[in-house]
Symmetry: C2
Subunit: 387 residues, 2 copies
Amino acid sequence: MRPKRIAILGSTGSVGRQALDLIRDQGELFQVVALTAGKNVDLLARQAREFRPLLIACGDPARAGQLRERCGNGKIHVQAGPEGLRAAATLPEADLVLACIVGAAGLESTFAAVRAGKSVALANKEALVMAGGLMIDSARERGAKLLPVDSEHSALHQCLRGEKRSEVARLVLTASGGPFFRSSAAALADVTPEAALRHPTWKMGPKITIDSATLMNKGLEVIEAHWLFAIPEERISIVVHPQSIVHSLVEFVDGSWICQMGVADMRFPIQYALSHPDRMPSRLQTLRLEELPPLEFLAPDPARFPCPGLARDAIRAGGTAPAVLNAANEVAVDRFLHGGIPFPAIPQVIQEVLEQHEPRPVTGLEDIMAADRKARDAARAAVERRT
Amino acid sequence: MRPKRIAILGSTGSVGRQALDLIRDQGELFQVVALTAGKNVDLLARQAREFRPLLIACGDPARAGQLRERCGNGKIHVQAGPEGLRAAATLPEADLVLACIVGAAGLESTFAAVRAGKSVALANKEALVMAGGLMIDSARERGAKLLPVDSEHSALHQCLRGEKRSEVARLVLTASGGPFFRSSAAALADVTPEAALRHPTWKMGPKITIDSATLMNKGLEVIEAHWLFAIPEERISIVVHPQSIVHSLVEFVDGSWICQMGVADMRFPIQYALSHPDRMPSRLQTLRLEELPPLEFLAPDPARFPCPGLARDAIRAGGTAPAVLNAANEVAVDRFLHGGIPFPAIPQVIQEVLEQHEPRPVTGLEDIMAADRKARDAARAAVERRT
């Protein structure tokens, strides 16, 4: 069997680096054909020298020269800017595109991969959050296969193997609860970025770690699950499971529940998406049932953690609203990380921006991008008013 | 769609009665075409008057007259004895045979259903324990579908939907641990039948409740799982899970685990087998995740609970050995229930009988039945020596 040819959009980020670690360990099964990064041309060049892709691209056009210099043997095609990312996303030689550029920045290239009819492993959840309808319609139209990389959606994908969608009663996303699940409202007001970045169970990038602390991550995941599995938002629940062993659950109409479990290590869902429809023998450490702490499932508190409710508001509003939610969240998280606003202001900023927004129908990516830009301005203004 | 036509072998037992409760609630989906009982002709006659099957049969020929008297309107065909049970098992009008006669008594009729190429929902685990190889070979040869009713195997069956057998790393059967899981060896010596019959989580018949207290139930289930899922015994583990919420788990080669959960109520797995391949909307109470006790997984102690080890010895010995294990266990449990031997003597009797037995290859049901009879004699003798 010839190796599966992989393009990685965002190979210098957390998911991208872990994917390359897995590919390094499973040499014969995969071939890397494209790699992209935003600004980290140092690491991108090192990755390119090791994995010898056909194409590499950096999002920042100003760094293209630097990148060419470092991979200057002429064998690797170097591109830059949005066209560069698009070229990597649509490379004819790629069998699977791993889309792991964080945030709205990854939307365009992910969408390009879907439009090109690629199998797309989605680690960029914003693509579905912002443009779920477009993405799903295009995937259907172009025969693109969408595979989740998020651990929760990978879990749901596994729970739904061999099952009929019409027999699903409910999807249940597990949340670790983040570092502040048991903190009082008063304590939340004093949370520092450093404390929020110390996630109790998962090792992830900074944006998603903060989303995890506010539970917005779970709100975004409800939207993502809605699009990926064609289940209405009101039949997607969230449960706090502090041990992060059960990664999500499905309840069926007959009262039976199927759940997926595993070590809290992103390499498992990344590997699942890379090797799908096969399951690849893993060299990673697996679960030891007898050594697990007792597994608990707790109801989240919407008063201290309003973000999932805001996400549900956005999906019910429809059209551009989820993109606006996402943009406002990105701005608010960024400002929190830079000391600009306190932790409880994150949902407040998002709510203000959502309330100002008049949702519009979405006919193309431009509608999404326009709503995104306007929402960022509105979010920045909302942050300003607080400083 | 025409209703699925069901024959129930052992309709007056615990599983049979629960199956009829479910069928009563789902009137349009099922039609009862045959019912059988051992001796309880009162209840069998009542069930027959309610469900109007084509055929009823009682295992005890001496009670045939009594039974005819009570269903004497001539519309229901009444039979008795082994031929009666066989007629019910092979009834041409039946789509699915629910085999729930407890113990070795159910083997012949279950085997007859398989030989007739029926879909067979197996609540009688002894059929697979005693004659697994024969049963599986015949099912393959005759195109009979075997569906587990045991909650653990139903769980495994569900976890394996849409999965490749070659990608299974391990099956893990959960055990409640029974009422004595935390009892000392000294305390086990004083266990009364009444105490052993009080199962902490499952409501089941007396034989299986004692098997549950000795963990022999789990040993028999390892053998059953080995045959049903074609997985070698050494890749089937047992874990004690006192909450009886997770009904079994599958570990895959990629380090991912799938498990099935639900309320500890036999009606769920019975319903799964009755409605397979569909999942039937249930009116039973389902799980409330947020109200669950913490879920624990503990290693069983082979010193206090030697029965699973004896079952593994039997399957490794092969041939007639598992039938001998089963027969010795049935005799020992019966004698314990009637006050003849203490609780810790159950595994001792079985071990003595197994050690005396020279395993023979199995070419037909006669080999099994002969080994069964000899083992019962040997077990009775072993019991005698203790009194």
